[in-house]
């Protein structure tokens, strides 16, 4: 596979990790290290002034010299809200990568394509490295690319559902047309789902729920890393196309005759 380069930065691992839903920052950090991931996402929320902080600030637990930290815009319903979050993240921590997540419908958490495209245009112009979370729509993927997205992030299935890649045919079209990396995000519940994404030609996957909520998140992070690596090696090894007809693996001559 071609080296994975986003906005000039090369990533050795094709497994990206979300930091939500972990039982503690300790477990999150150990899972992240076990995964070998070099890109993690974080979210922005209001500080709760009436409660003592439950844990250290998450940024103190992430080493920015080793991983790219990408704030997401979760909670935003409009382009304006997402842009506000991205600018706050830049002001707070100097982060200029942003994962656009614009999900007005709280039931399915599906991304709003119109608002996502608007926010991509504006934030790309402001110099952000924009990674838009999107439905697996090949036309939208091209529009986002033209608007300045540094990569596109089509969903496999809705966020947190663990249902795997239900958008397979559309992901294949997106991959075949894309000139930016394709990162399959959302819904991947098993290591085999991540492997499938890489085998389809995706450049990387982003996993959160499947690792964070596993009985053993650190072991699951290892499992995902192994699956992604195995799929990458398989792609590099040059798999042969599927065929409708059988093709004998053993010689068809020299049979013992009665």
């Amino acid at each position: 596979m071609l080296p994975l380069i986003i906005a000039g930065r090369t990533f050795r691992s094709r497994l990206f990790i979300g930091t939500g839903k972990f039982g503690s920052h300790d477990v999150m950090v150990r899972a992240m290290e076990a995964s070998g991931s070099e890109l993690v996402t974080v979210a922005l929320r209001r500080v709760n002034l009436d409660a003592a902080p439950a844990d250290d600030p998450i940024l103190t637990r992430l080493d920015r010299s080793r991983v790219v930290i990408v704030p997401n815009t979760s909670g935003a319903r409009t382009a304006e809200e997402a842009i506000r979050i991205a600018r706050l993240a830049r002001a707070a921590g100097g982060f200029d990568w942003v994962k656009l997540e614009l999900t007005p419908d709280l039931h399915h958490l599906l991304p709003d394509p119109v608002e996502t495209l608007r926010a991509t245009e504006i934030l790309a112009r402001e110099g952000f490295v924009v990674l838009p979370y999107m439905n697996a729509d090949p036309v939208l993927a091209k529009r986002l690319e033209e608007a300045g997205a540094a990569a596109v992030m089509p969903l496999g299935s809705p966020i947190g559902t663990n249902r795997g890649i239900r958008t397979r045919d559309m992901i294949e079209i997106i991959v075949s047309q894309a000139r930016v990396p394709v990162i399959v995000d959302a819904g991947l519940g098993l290591p085999s789902h991540a492997a499938e994404a890489i085998e389809l030609g995706a450049s990387a996957v982003l996993i959160n729920t499947a690792i964070a909520t596993a009985a053993d998140p650190v072991a699951m992070a290892c499992a995902f890393a192994g699956a992604v690596r195995a799929a990458e090696m398989g792609v590099d090894a040059g798999p042969r196309a599927a065929s409708a007809e059988a093709s004998a693996s053993s010689p068809l001559t020299g049979f013992l005759s009665a």
């Binding site: 979300g18 930091t19 939500g20 839903k21 972990f22 920052h25 999150m28 996402t41 974080v42 979210a43 922005l44 929320r45 209001r46 500080v47 002034l49 600030p57 998450i58 940024l59 103190t60 704030p71 997401n72 979760s74 506000r84 600018r87 706050l88 993240a89 002001a91 707070a92 921590g93 966020i159 947190g160 982003l206 959160n208 729920t209």
Partner: protein
């Protein structure tokens, strides 16, 4: 004076600046983003930014997310 912080009205005394207001709330400035009346206030400007009565202030921090 009263200001609205993260959607809740609070009496914050009379802080000399946004930096002093954060200190009074026990919030470490280097870990948060601050928006005052809709404008982002960069970390290095907090000490130079006054607080007016009735200001609408948002104090945001990073948390785990996917």
């Amino acid at each position: 004076m009263n200001v609205t912080i993260n959607g809740q009205e609070r009496d914050v005394g009379s802080p000399s600046s946004l930096a002093a207001l954060l200190e009074g709330l026990g919030v470490e400035a280097r870990n948060v983003a601050v928006e005052c009346d809709g404008a982002i206030v960069r970390c290095d400007q907090l000490a130079a930014t006054p607080v007016r009565p009735g200001a609408r202030i948002e104090i945001i921090h990073f948390v785990g997310g996917g």
